[in-house]
């Protein structure tokens, strides 16, 4: 029973991180119809920036803010410089460009920061809360993870629902030409969208690094999990991404807890294939508008 509780809690926390990462993928997919395979490498880059700042003696919070800001900058610059030329072109070209970014950024991290394993601090404790004489696998850090992701989601909802910029961003994602005719600077909205997505992606990178080891390729597995989560929810739906992330986190946690950690990635693959074959529009799709 205790193991079940622990595995479930672990799955929920992991699921929140997957959800944040999937959300970043969905934000970019909605605006530019591109799956950003470089998201993981970009997040790893900002994590290493944060690590460098922490090692220079600054506090975690300074590092967090700088990392998120640099994430925004990286995302915006990448969209403007390398993604813009392939936007709206053949989908294969865009996929190949993001894959190129994926390896290039990962290699650049290894060149600049070294490819050894380094430990990453966390602002909160990693000891589980104790009830009576049982310690469960819910740590102050997991509460911080859940809280941070929730705050980010609420902020995004507020941005898209209640601000003019959010409205303009939704308009340019919905119909580029109409939005342009109505005076929306679509190009800027796309750049902003990539920047925001990179911030969310960076946050998930920092959260998953907290209390663990980081190395240039540490986000590789998360790219797959985030992608599976995003597809689970239907690549188009932010809410779906969150639900998909939580579901996937739970399932993978059960696999790791009751079968074997070595099978986690294979089960992610199995889930992805089943979803794509049975419900290509995601678990919550109401219409089958797009053929996957």
């Amino acid at each position: 029973m205790l193991q079940f509780v622990n595995v479930t809690l672990n799955g929920l926390v992991q699921g929140m991180i997957f959800a944040a990462f999937a959300l970043a993928l969905v934000l970019i997919w909605r605006s530019t119809r591109i799956v950003n395979f470089a998201q993981g490498s970009m997040a790893a880059a900002t994590t290493f920036i944060a690590l460098a700042i922490i090692q220079a003696g600054q506090s975690y919070w300074v590092a967090l803010v700088v990392a998120l800001l640099s994430g925004f900058l990286i995302g915006a610059v990448i969209e403007r410089v390398v993604i813009r030329p392939v936007e709206g072109g053949p989908e294969l070209n865009a996929v190949i460009v993001t894959l190129g970014l994926f390896v290039a950024i990962q290699a650049l991290i290894a060149i600049v920061f070294g490819s050894s394993f380094q430990s990453f601090t966390t602002p909160f404790g990693l000891r589980g809360f104790t009830f009576g004489d049982t310690t469960i696998l819910l740590t102050p850090n997991s509460l911080y993870v859940i809280g941070a992701v929730l705050v980010t989601m609420l902020a995004l909802i507020a941005l898209f629902r209640f601000t003019r910029v959010g409205l303009a961003m939704r308009a340019s994602a919905f119909g580029q030409e109409v939005a342009r005719l109505l005076g929306v600077r679509v190009g800027r909205m796309l750049t902003l969208g990539w920047g925001l997505a990179a911030v969310v992606g960076s946050l998930s990178g920092l959260l998953i690094a907290g209390g663990g080891l980081v190395y240039p390729a540490y986000m590789d597995v998360i790219i797959v999990s985030g992608f599976v989560a995003a597809v689970l929810g239907g690549l188009d739906s932010p809410i779906g991404a969150v639900v998909g992330g939580l579901l996937l986190g739970l399932v993978l946690s059960y696999v790791a807890g009751y079968l074997s950690p070595a099978l986690v990635n294979m089960s992610a693959l199995a889930i992805l294939v089943v979803v794509l074959l049975v419900r290509p529009g995601g678990l919550f799709s109401s219409s089958t508008a797009r053929r996957a």
Binding site: V86, L92, L99, A107, I111, S260
Partner: protein, 386 residues
């Protein structure tokens, strides 16, 4: 701005059969006899390919005998990269499906080879290779059935999941597959007839390294010969039809799914053979050898060369073999330490992928072909006017 102009200029020439997508220009082989006029090569496709095969075989023997043992081992590496890239370029260039799972499929071939050669009484090498191809082909069929229903980013994501997930099996079944350390491959020694052959041709030492280089090159030539014929046959034309116009192809009675599965199966078989050659050349099958970087390196090779072109795949693979030592040395000269310098090669793969896709999506072979067609179109227009 220059790209759309280029496209219209190109389609104004004799490019009516060209695909609407510039990136796969290299895949559209000119119809044989029409472009082969004033050429010494025979008009019959099979005959022409046989002549090219014979010339390449002689050239390969000369190349392997005139170069040092170190170069020989590099050619062996080139051979397995090119076999895998050839399979991938057929899948991506001719049929429009991307795969990031080819590294994992190569792993299947390599592990099969390692297990079979590690037996008490190992089977002949050719049988082992065929078995590796067969097993990878079966897996490819399973993946292909799933992949046939996906496109673009979905397919890339699914095959990425395969590439990340499959090495986990080597850890799960570590008593058979050797876990993180992997399996050693008992590479076969050179047979007697080979020593006789080398003694007859050049009098060089017929070492195991040389034998393995020959094995790799023979596999490479056979694979490319088969793929080239396939690309020029009804099969290749059907694949291009499926790639360019799904609806029109379906109207013409083509079963899209079945042809996509077939493309994946052929491509997986190549990856299996490449993995088998890799196994005997590297003499090790370990999860660390089949990371996602391997799959992306293969993708880089075919994108640089030109999607769909076997020659492009070969040129791209040559870059994968000869660039890293050069770049790593350069990095060491610039004061990077070994591990940092080793990362320069993947960095350059990534940057090159981006630049090629933005600046010249047709790749090396495709861009040259486009220029040539444009020049010919202009010349034809001028003669028509004058």
């Amino acid at each position: 701005m220059s790209q759309p102009q280029e496209k219209t200029a190109a389609s104004a020439g004799e490019m009516t059969s060209e695909s609407p997508v510039e990136a796969t220009t290299a895949a559209n082989a000119p119809s044989g006899p029409a472009s082969a006029r004033r050429s010494l090569l025979p008009g019959n496709t099979l005959l022409r390919h046989l002549v090219i095969l014979a010339v390449c075989a002689v050239g390969a023997v000369a190349l392997l005998e005139l170069t040092s043992p170190f170069r020989n081992s590099q050619f062996a590496v080139l051979a397995y990269y090119a076999i895998a890239a050839g399979g991938l370029t057929v899948l991506t260039g001719l049929n429009g499906q991307i795969s990031l799972g080819h590294g994992a499929l190569m792993a299947v071939g390599a592990y099969t080879t390692a297990l079979l050669l590690g037996a008490e009484e190992p089977l002949p090498l050719a049988v082992v290779f065929l078995a590796a191809v067969g097993i990878t082909l079966l897996l490819g069929a399973v993946v292909g059935v799933a992949a046939a229903r996906l496109h673009g980013p979905y397919l890339a994501g699914a095959t990425l999941a395969l590439a990340v997930g499959l090495p986990g099996l080597a850890l799960y079944y570590d008593d058979v597959l050797g876990g993180e350390q992997g399996l050693r491959v008992q590479s076969p020694r050179a047979p007697e007839w080979f020593q006789g052959f080398i003694g007859f041709v050049s009098g060089n030492n017929a070492t195991t390294t040389k034998w393995l280089a020959y094995v790799g090159v023979i596999c490479l030539l056979l694979t490319f010969f088969l793929l080239a014929n396939l690309a020029r046959s009804r099969v290749g034309r059907t694949w291009r039809a499926v790639r360019d116009e799904e609806v029109a192809a379906e109207l013409a009675g083509i079963d899209l799914g079945a042809w996509r599965v077939l493309a994946f199966v052929v491509s997986a078989a190549c990856a299996g053979l490449a993995g088998a050659v890799l196994g005997v050349v590297i003499r090790l099958a370990a999860p660390s050898g089949f990371t996602i970087v391997l799959s992306i390196a293969l993708l880089t090779a075919i994108v640089i060369g030109g999607l769909g072109s076997l020659l492009g795949a070969l040129l791209g693979s040559a870059l994968l073999v000869f660039l890293p030592p050069f770049v790593t040395n350069l990095g060491a000269d610039l004061g990077l330490n070994n591990t940092e310098a080793a990362q320069l090669a993947p960095f350059i793969y990534g940057v090159v992928l981006i630049i090629v896709m933005i600046a010249a999506p047709a790749g090396f072979v495709g861009t040259i072909r486009l220029r040539w067609l444009q020049a010919r179109g202009k010349r034809a227009a001028r003669t028509a006017q004058g």
